[in-house]
Symmetry: C2
Subunit: 441 residues, 2 copies
């Protein structure tokens, strides 16, 4: 648009002038200008290649040619709303239904994970005729008013907790209430949900839903103990509420073992509502809510139309279908399992070597390295984590931190991330941790 390409400082100056400063940059002290990407690599304006360890939106790889082709071919033909019949919409719903338990057979298409979680809440409330929601501590479910209300990660710094929101403890067996030495953390954490319900019932409150990220992400790359969802679901069902599994960060084969992260809990677990976003369209704004016939029917019984201007348009659905095709054709789910296991093995060797590493947890290409100041106390090594991500950037590797202590290095790369990338990352991690340890002594 401009006659000459702007340099990074000029772009930054304009951004400061024109874009709301609530929209944060990575590495705000020294942000990166990215102009190109391919697979698991992104490139700055000087041609420097960075390994992208965190973009779970570019699920099948940045700029995947098959996704781009699908978008372009459909753009040439038609892009309109879903008030007309179109095969892409039904093809896409049918394909998604094959990945899910049979009960989850009704679909709504939208533009973002936030829109999906908002609709999930509306569905739950219309079906149950109740209002209250149980959320997991440190959860993040989106940027909309209704979702900030149910995101402890956000509301603690904004308007505070609404009376209809109840926060259950994070089922974190490393730093949480019940840890790896507890004989049955799944039941213990589920009982915490029951306690909340019992207490609220005494105050005559009624529950619409328990909403849980299938693998809590912002909370610090947490893997809930297996069986927790079943038991928590039993409690919320008895209270007349539904179980919403938020798969926005972790769905679509990332965890390797299964297509959906809630399936880690066991075959006997089926959520009432599943929300999808981020990776679903490899960067194109798409999202989806899957639910049961009963919940969908209760929602339509009001007679009020649900219309989403862009949701379910032929282009979005073509892109969604292409992403599913690629996951299958390139066997990315198996690949994620294989590379993830290899990566975890390498990281475990590092844990033995570096006292800063308190915990390594992960499944497939969802991995967290929990840094601690003290192995006993497990106190978050926040500053060290920040130093490490900055050093990684100097080594042309992009990663970031999660967790309330911002001390968990998170790895959620595009699924084409390979064993060589893992080796590179772990080699650099070893180097940087060694540097840090030297500085300390």
């Amino acid at each position: 648009m401009s006659a000459e390409p702007r340099n990074r400082q000029q772009t930054l100056a304009l951004r400061k002038q024109l874009i709301g400063s609530s929209c944060k940059l990575f590495f705000p002290e020294d942000p990166v200008k990215i102009i190109q990407a391919k697979g698991q690599y992104i490139y700055d304006e000087n041609g420097n290649q960075y390994l992208d360890c965190i973009n779970n939106v570019a699920h099948v790889g940045h700029c995947h040619p098959e996704v781009i082709k699908a978008a372009h071919q459909q753009n040439l033909l038609l892009n309109t709303n879903s008030r007309y019949l179109h095969d892409n919409l039904v093809d896409y719903a049918q394909r998604l239904s094959k990945t899910l338990p049979e009960k989850l057979c009704t679909f709504y298409f939208l533009n973002s994970g936030s829109e999906a979680n908002d609709l999930a809440l509306r569905l739950a409330r219309q079906y149950t005729k109740h209002k209250d929601v149980i959320v997991i501590d440190h959860a993040y479910h989106g940027h909309l008013t209704s979702l900030i209300d149910i995101s402890p990660y956000k509301f603690r710094n904004l308007d505070g907790q609404k009376e209809w929101v109840h926060v259950a403890p994070l089922p974190d067996t490393y730093r949480g209430l019940y840890r790896e030495n507890h004989k049955d953390p799944a039941t213990a954490y589920a009982n915490e949900v029951k306690k909340i319900i019992d207490k609220a019932h005494q105050e005559s409150r009624k529950f619409a839903a328990l909403i849980v990220e299938s693998l809590p992400s912002v909370a610090g790359q947490i893997i809930p103990p297996s069986g927790y969802f079943q038991k928590a679901a039993e409690h919320i069902h008895k209270a007349g509420g539904v179980f919403i599994a938020d798969e926005i960060q972790v769905g679509f084969g990332r965890i390797g073992k299964h297509f959906w992260a809630f399936q880690l809990q066991g075959e006997d677990f089926i959520p009432d509502i599943v929300t999808m976003g981020k990776p679903i369209g490899n960067g194109h704004p798409v999202a989806c809510v899957a639910t049961t016939k009963e919940i969908a029917e209760a929602f339509s019984a009001t007679g009020v139309e649900y219309f989403n201007t862009f949701g379910g348009n032929p282009v979005s659905c073509a892109i969604g279908l292409a992403v599913l095709d690629i996951i299958e054709k390139e066997e990315l789910q198996t690949h994620a399992l294989h590379v993830g296991s290899f990566f975890m093995e390498l990281l475990k060797h590092q844990k033995a070597k570096h006292p800063l590493i308190g915990d390594i947890r992960g499944i497939g290409l969802f991995i967290g390295v929990d840094l601690v100041q003290d192995q006993e106390k497990r106190s978050p090594a926040t500053k060290e984590a920040e130093y490490i991500t900055t050093r990684f950037k100097e080594e042309f590797i992009i990663l970031s931190t999660d967790g309330p202590g911002r001390n968990v290095l998170k790895f959620k790369p595009p699924l084409c991330f390979n064993t060589k990338d893992a080796e590179l990352v772990v080699g650099k991690l070893d180097m940087i941790l060694t540097e840090l340890e030297k500085r300390k002594t």
Copy 2:
């Protein structure tokens, strides 16, 4: 995807099976399957061409080659989130800022008009530290929980009116409280806003915002009297609230005379927040909020990040820029003014001829034909309007109705709609109205 293309009945059957029934089809008794589109025309699976009189999302014409090219070129390069610097984001904000009053100089990018209105409410509340909102009767501001709360069109059929929502009368000078014979309807309608404020102040309530569609659409293609916004803004400002102009349906040159519909009120009127959606990306999920430095700063003063996964990505911005380029290059704003005036002239002749037509109102390519059972009582001719849209469909012209009485034929075609299209539509309208009148006698 399927081996053989499905016929319309098969697609319909699958849709009924898989898609939430709250998602309605046009012409539910006999829906249309659309597989292709170009300019102002859409095509069904049998190659039938329909003239599209209502899709204001396909703003510069369905499948505009320049939009498709911009999307494809950027898709080949990079599509990632706005936590990295990118020129498309700042170029786009800069271009939009040139269309707006200088004061509206801070931008947020999102994926849908609904996301934009939700953010507008968050901005207003954070800035004012107040909660209450005044909305206009019959307004529709989006499908999210927070927006159903402020959309009388929806909340009357759902959860009812929240205590923090106040409904001001629709400034409709044809069927509203103050009509064409009133000496100063702008002041009279603005005084209604003041009455609401005064009453609520007695109950110690405090106002965050007055939100108004610059031209109320679902409410029946309404053109508020000039000067109403200034006076209403004065009242809301005195109460400590802000004025949000919702341009989602009508922005980007549709009205011909100006680029933004709020500019119809006069040069002295400047909203505090403007929300944009639908036409902004010609069908691609994009949206925008423009606001003042002061409001943006109050929002970021909380320290809480605003992150929108897909919002402001390089592809969305490239598409948004292409749409602005096309509006300029093809002089679509002037075209809308010219064709709209021509269309209005033709329609006025019909009014003289057909007693079913109670009112013709419009500006540029935003036009409403208000059908009445009785010229005196102005009672909505709901059934007749439904019959007319069904008959139009048989004549391969797609239009629909708006207004609480669903009796206002609405015209919001892609801006490439031309005088020949207008002649065709008015000829058919004459024919169908004549049919109807014959049947009545």
